[in-house]
Symmetry: C2
Subunit: 329 residues, 2 copies
DNA sequence: GTCCCTTCTGGAATCGTTTCGATTCAGACT
DNA sequence: AGTCTGAATCGAAACGATTCCAGAAGGGAC
């Protein structure tokens, strides 16, 4: 910029005014500066701008696992929305480690992001909560609960309605012994699903449900499924709380020689792309993950521009499939 | 930092020295400064540091579609590796738009990233190439070819060996009319696959292959499959060049009432998580996408630290499946 | 006591912008 | 001619850190 000023024979402040579209510049000045800019191939330095203005035009995105298709889709939505508003996205992936979660929050803070979209690995982790309390920029939780003292917006799914519809369907088919193989109970979605299922089942007096919490992993699905199906009175229907878990469940069912839906009915989560070609087709509770990212980005921009925190709820839908049938006998 | 200096009764330069681990500080000075830092809750400003030193400790990641599971997995690998070296990752997703590609490259440049990992949407696009020539930081291409005049490292897949093995298998089963429903020919992987298939088929004189290029989309797969199978002499085996394309192909086959492998054999790409539960099991050419991200990150760090550009090749493997059988008759 | 050397510390310049107050100058008015 | 106004421009300070240079102590050796 100094070079540009020198070449144009003007002061750096004038160059800055021209480049920032300040109206107090004469046409002749504008031309001289623009010529010099073109001649020297000058490019502004966003770092220096950010340093001066305090606005880095960047937002952080904290995911448990960016390779998870649901989260990847959400990030794609956020990237799009933020790009349209001149913001860049810094992404992290904690791989489920709560220490990394806390570290990342601090790291984003040091980088002076203007906002943070996050799905923490554990809502109750002290280190994470500490880091969040220190955090000063805009905060938007994605499908997570957070303590009152933290001022933040949130975008959450209405897991209850989708789950309730699934349970209703199973009850209507005649199932009375259900099981939910759930994810980590320390995050909102798993809690909501468990609560929804427990509540929906009350409609039929003699119906019962077993909830098996664990991690969002194939191994948890595998173990839980084997245990459940090997018990004295196994469930006639299983609701699977995550696409990773599903893999383990499917593997376990194959090993046990159990057929879906003949031996056990199955409801799963988040229709993954090729699932429609699995036979029998899988009944599932779906949602629009891209939307979560888009909305999250909108909320964070709102906060950055001085808006007040608010929570937005997105729907989930139950989709029937051949994997659900009346129980035997 | 000024506040810290004032509270400790020392100069800012001394505070900086203490905090940056400069050996020229007395223990008493160190203690006074550290006390003041703790008392004031001081946190360094990475923006200001970056401005002064020119090192932003950030790297860009440019994907065609971050929601694609392969790319998402690669980004997860890159994030992990970069995090371990103190770098943050800025992610973009161009949704296949070449203009956005060029814009993003410039945007990363303005943000002074120290390196860029990228998969461009079109290797030959002029605007993209222009932007790349202007780009001054470290450059690592992910499974893309690039012109000689651009100094960059690259991590590429050996698509040929996996594809050749697939073709060999089909030829051995007796197939003589193959088809490859391919992605966009303006990027390396699609070109490599097409070339590999054309070359491998020569082993058997009377064998032929039709290559149908297009986009990496379900609709392309659907259209191409319908056209191919509706032709006078349809192929007896189809190789599908992408997981999005596969969806369209599967849908088309269902509509046409064609059974795999009875009516047509199928080889696909990039075993997606639940594919193993699709019946018949899908033969596919697989690779390790996380590795691409990890290696890409290593290469970019190498360049940042003054290393010379180099290209690393990763293997692909053909995995047999029930979707391949001898052709009818 | 002087000189030199080492060790530590302070002050100032610097990175690339933006912005504020000051300055210049042309033209209008008295 | 003198004063005033407003537009256009300039110079300098500031953002928050790092780093170089100079200088101040302190310790030994003579």
């Amino acid at each position: 910029m100094k070079d540009v000023a020198q070449r144009a024979g003007v002061a750096v402040s004038s160059v800055s005014r021209v480049l920032s579209g300040n109206p107090d510049v004469s046409p002749v000045m504008r031309n001289r500066v623009m010529d010099a800019v073109a001649a020297l191939g000058y490019e502004k330095d966003l770092i220096a701008q950010g340093m001066r203005s305090g606005a880095t035009s960047s937002v952080g995105f904290m995911a448990v696992d960016i390779a998870n298709p649901i989260i990847a889709a959400a990030s794609a939505g956020a990237i799009r929305e933020l790009r349209n508003n001149g913001y860049s996205l810094l992404i992290s992936s904690s791989d489920g480690s709560t220490e990394l979660d806390a570290d990342y929050i601090r790291s984003f803070q040091l980088r002076r992001v203007e906002g943070l979209l996050l799905s923490v690995a554990d809502e109750e982790d002290v280190r994470t909560l500490d880091a969040l309390e220190q955090f000063t920029a805009a905060l938007v939780f994605m499908d997570r609960a957070f303590p009152r003292n933290i001022k933040a917006s949130a975008v959450v799914y209405d897991h209850r309605s989708g789950m309730a519809a699934a349970v209703d369907h199973l009850l209507d088919l005649g199932h009375r012994k259900l099981a939910l193989i759930n994810g980590a109970p320390r995050v909102r979605p798993a809690r909501e699903r468990a609560n929804a299922v427990r509540q929906a089942i009350r409609r039929v007096k003699e119906a019962t449900v077993v909830v098996r919490g664990g991690s969002y992993s194939a191994s948890h699905g595998y173990d839980a499924c084997k245990t459940l199906m090997g018990s004295a009175s196994p469930p006639t229907a299983i609701i699977v709380g995550g696409n990773q878990i599903l893999q383990g469940v499917m593997a376990a069912l194959v090993e046990l020689g159990l057929k879906v839906p003949d031996d056990v009915s199955l409801v799963t989560l988040d229709n993954v792309p090729l699932a429609e070609f699995i036979s029998p087709s899988l009944a599932c509770v779906t949602r629009d993950p891209v939307n979560m990212g888009t909305l999250g980005a909108e909320l964070v921009l709102e906060l950055i521009n001085g808006g007040t925190p608010r929570t937005v709820e997105l729907p989930t839908t139950f989709v029937r499939g051949e994997s659900c049938a009346a129980p035997r006998g």
